[in-house]
Amino acid sequence: MSRLVLSGISKSYGAIQALSSVSLSLEPGQVLGLMGDNGAGKSTLVKIIAGNFAPSAGELKIDGKPVVFHKPKDAQREGIEVVYQDLALCDNLSAASNVFLGREAMARLGPLRYVDYRHMNEVAADLFKQLKSETRPRDLVRKMSGGQRQAVAIARTLLSKPKIVMMDEPTAAISVRQVQEVLDLIRRLRDQGITVILISHRMPDVFSVADRITVLRRGELVANKEASRSSPEEVTGLITGAIDAA
């Protein structure tokens, strides 16, 4: 059964049609490379799947079950996690606090409940170790490098054993070595049966991890095919419109 099915998803911001009738389906453990020019609607699609806002039309199914998300928590409950383009980190909080943002671990002291920093720091340290990242859970995010910030944002998604992880430009602002680490991580997610949706402008990154390639152009889905049967040249043509559809 397909992990995620989108049928006829549309979204308009007033007069701007950001997405028009996008349909696609994804299997467990598949990596989808979602490509398109600036303003093609990639982030909008990710935000709809993540429950940040509802589509103007169309429906989503997860494991065959129709779902409607009113808020990000609803999508999280269905196992959907996102690494946002701007990473959505709070500079003034620690790495661990950012990993747990919005779902802080609580401990009990008699009738009182308090934020369990010890547990949060331990879990975060563990996740950073999994990611082979030299990020200290107690450090403030303000002091961190681009790669460390990525690690914090990615560690956040791993917190809840997700079904689907979406990454918006995870390799845009980091060093070559860090890019390899992020790509390795994506492969590890895939091996665990997690479906990954990767948005990237960097063709080599996409072709090195993606099983499928989907291209959006001005809100329309113009291609959705196996990566092994496509090529960077074809995808470039699809993105710019030199090739109409594939």
Partner: protein
């Protein structure tokens, strides 16, 4: 993690925290102590029991509201309406008590009405999407006018059957310490704990640090914002009730331009006007420093007309200090 890595992580964190948080607080504290010592040497009126008692009490009022203001500022907002909430709180309780109502019921109703002001601020800011500066500037004007209408612009000084109780609660002392100081200490303690150890505290700072991130991670940003403005109004109402008891009379200019003193206290105490930083202890120390300096101006015979200049300068200097600190890091 090995224990050594653990220890390193911990110690680096401590140093970092110490550097980040305590620098400004430390200097504010030193400045307050130096000012006190200088005044003790320069005047024979400062270190008298009577004057110290007054300083302690006055700073408690500013400190209480500065804790509320610090919460607002830490979340990236501002509340200009606190001075007006002070007079509304004081006026509601005095009108009700003058009408024969007992202290506790009147105080609860007064706080309830002031909380409605906070609720209005919060709803317009969080759900209406309006800038906090504009909304609270509006309520600053509207709420004081409401207090005037309520009192018919008369001075209130007769508080009915519980008259003595109100004066004792606001103006009395226990074990030589004025009651407002107890309220301040209790509030500072509770809020310090809440900032650090509750989800609410985490969310206040998350919203101030990156509101968009808070939204995206599913934090109930709007509800938290409403609660923040209600808390700020609550501290103003509490101070208003205590001030009514201390003064023994309430006029419609009570708390006038107090918002500026309170904002100065919060900012001096390390609250970052850009959001994301602030401590309850900082608010208290900021209020202390301002009151000591205000008191010293009076004792040294400097015209009170200079107070506004001093408050304004302090806000700007504290913000400049903050800019330099961030520029360096």
């Amino acid at each position: 993690m090995t224990t050594i890595e653990h220890a390193i992580a911990r110690s680096e964190h401590r140093n970092l925290l110490a550097r980040m948080m305590n620098l400004q607080l430390f200097w504010v504290f030193v400045a307050a102590v130096v000012a006190c010592l200088a005044l003790t040497l320069l005047t024979d009126t400062f270190a008298t029991e009577r004057n110290l008692f007054n300083v302690a009490r006055n700073f408690a009022f500013v400190g209480i509201i500065a804790i509320g203001m610090t919460t607002v500022i830490a979340s990236g907002g501002i509340d200009l309406s606190v001075g007006s909430s002070v007079v509304l709180g004081a006026m509601v309780i005095s009108v009700l008590m003058a009408g024969g109502m007992g202290f506790w019921l009147a105080a609860s109703l007064s706080l309830g009405i002031v909380l409605l002001v906070g609720l209005l601020n919060g709803l317009l800011i969080a759900y209406g999407g309006m800038p906090a500066f504009v909304v609270t500037l509006g309520t600053l004007s509207g709420v004081r006018s409401l207090a005037m209408v309520l009192s018919d612009n008369k001075m209130m000084w007769e508080f009915g059957p519980d008259h003595g109780l109100l004066l004792w609660i606001g103006g009395g002392s226990t074990l030589g310490i004025p009651h407002p100081l107890y309220a301040l200490a209790l509030l500072a303690m509770i809020i310090s704990l809440a900032f650090k150890w509750t989800r609410w505290g985490q969310y206040v700072f998350a919203i101030g640090g990156n509101e968009n991130a808070a939204l995206l991670t599913g934090i109930p940003v709007k509800r938290i914002k409403v609660s923040i403005y209600m808390f700020s109004a609550f501290t103003a109402g509490l101070a208003g009730i205590l001030m009514a008891g201390w003064l023994g009379s309430v006029t419609t200019n009570l708390g006038q331009s107090m918002e500026l003193t309170v904002i100065a206290a919060a900012v001096i105490g390390g609250a970052n006007l850009a959001g994301g930083e602030g401590t309850a202890i900082g608010a208290v120390l900021g209020a202390l420093l301002i009151e000591v300096i205000r008191n010293s101006m009076i004792l040294l015979g400097i015209s009170t007309f200079w107070q506004g200049m001093f408050i304004g300068t302090f806000i700007i200097v504290a913000v400049a200090f903050d800019r330099i600190r961030h520029f360096r890091s």
